[in-house]
Subunit: 186 residues, 2 copies
């Protein structure tokens, strides 16, 4: 498996560039001597600055208590190169295997959180839990992105967008309509 | 502008099929004798059953008080055929124009809510507000989808996924990996 090339730091108010299109993502976490990865598709940008992201991590997932207790995670953005690994991670439990080892992924140290990040992913967003008041009722976590890095090439990678039922839509083609936007809307 | 052909009713626990991939959507609303449409990209599925969707509708939008006071909206799914209208709707204010008239869109009556739905969109999700406790702090609304309809052809339409800066990713190509999923994960 090849890793994306050089990654650059991304301004925190530009995280929407990568996550607003709605790709499936990989959530990595750590607690004590354990680490894990889960596949996650239910997320939304919630604010530019602070850079907020809301997501559902179901209580049935091995990662649930890890992210809740540690108050940290990394949101990693896989491209279609990682389709097999993304599906495999979503169909296994971290209670039985170390998913980094099992799927041949590299756990790089993060800067601001103890959770490792996945080197092979196109982008990595280090997150701290800022609001858990909807966790008990909806499994909904609100995170602040505190560090963001993304590969520089390709400019728009092919990403996976899950529809359920084993089917993904692929986004990658881009249309730019900048000239149709008001300056304040850009 | 052509409208999608026949629409069928969608089981409410299958709404994720259309919205989990993260498309930009059009939110239609009504309050007293006013109606409006806004473009919205910050949303997440939150539960299968009841069918819950969370989204950010900024207090700066003309639609904000309309959806909050009426407690209703329709989430409409545009395809790339409606790219110009989708951008136009996001760059104008309902305080100045009737967006249905201005953009040549047809306001069909909804079944369960007073908010009209957009005939030219591929799918329409009628929503009732079920939780507004995060509205004051995050402009985050939690909706229950109470009626869902979608066109039957094409099976996977081309949808728009916004990155900011006037640039959309287009999803439409599909990959099916059903055989790699555990039965209980489908």
């Amino acid at each position: 498996m090849t890793s994306p090339g050089h990654k650059k730091s991304v301004p925190l108010d530009k995280v929407r560039r990568y996550l607003e299109p709605g790709p499936i993502v990989l959530v990595s976490s750590a607690l004590e001597d354990r680490r894990n990865i889960m596949t996650m598709g239910w997320h939304s940008i919630m604010a530019f600055s602070p850079s907020l992201l809301g997501c559902v991590i179901s209580a049935g997932n091995h990662s649930f208590e890890m992210v809740r207790q540690s108050g940290e995670c990394v949101i990693n953005l896989p491209t279609t190169d990682l389709t097999d690994q993304t599906i495999g991670i979503g169909n296994t439990s971290g209670g039985n295997i170390d998913k980094f080892e099992h799927f041949g992924l590299t756990a790089d140290a993060s800067e601001a959180v103890a959770a490792p990040q996945i080197r092979e992913c196109y982008a990595n967003f280090e997150c701290r839990l800022v609001d858990d008041r909807l966790v008990d009722e909806y499994n909904f976590f609100i995170w602040e992105v505190v560090r963001a890095r993304a590969a520089t090439s390709p400019e728009y990678p092919q990403t996976l967008h899950y529809t359920g039922d084993g089917v993904f839509m692929v986004a990658g083609e881009v249309i730019s309509r900048r000239d149709q936007f008001l300056p304040q809307m850009l």
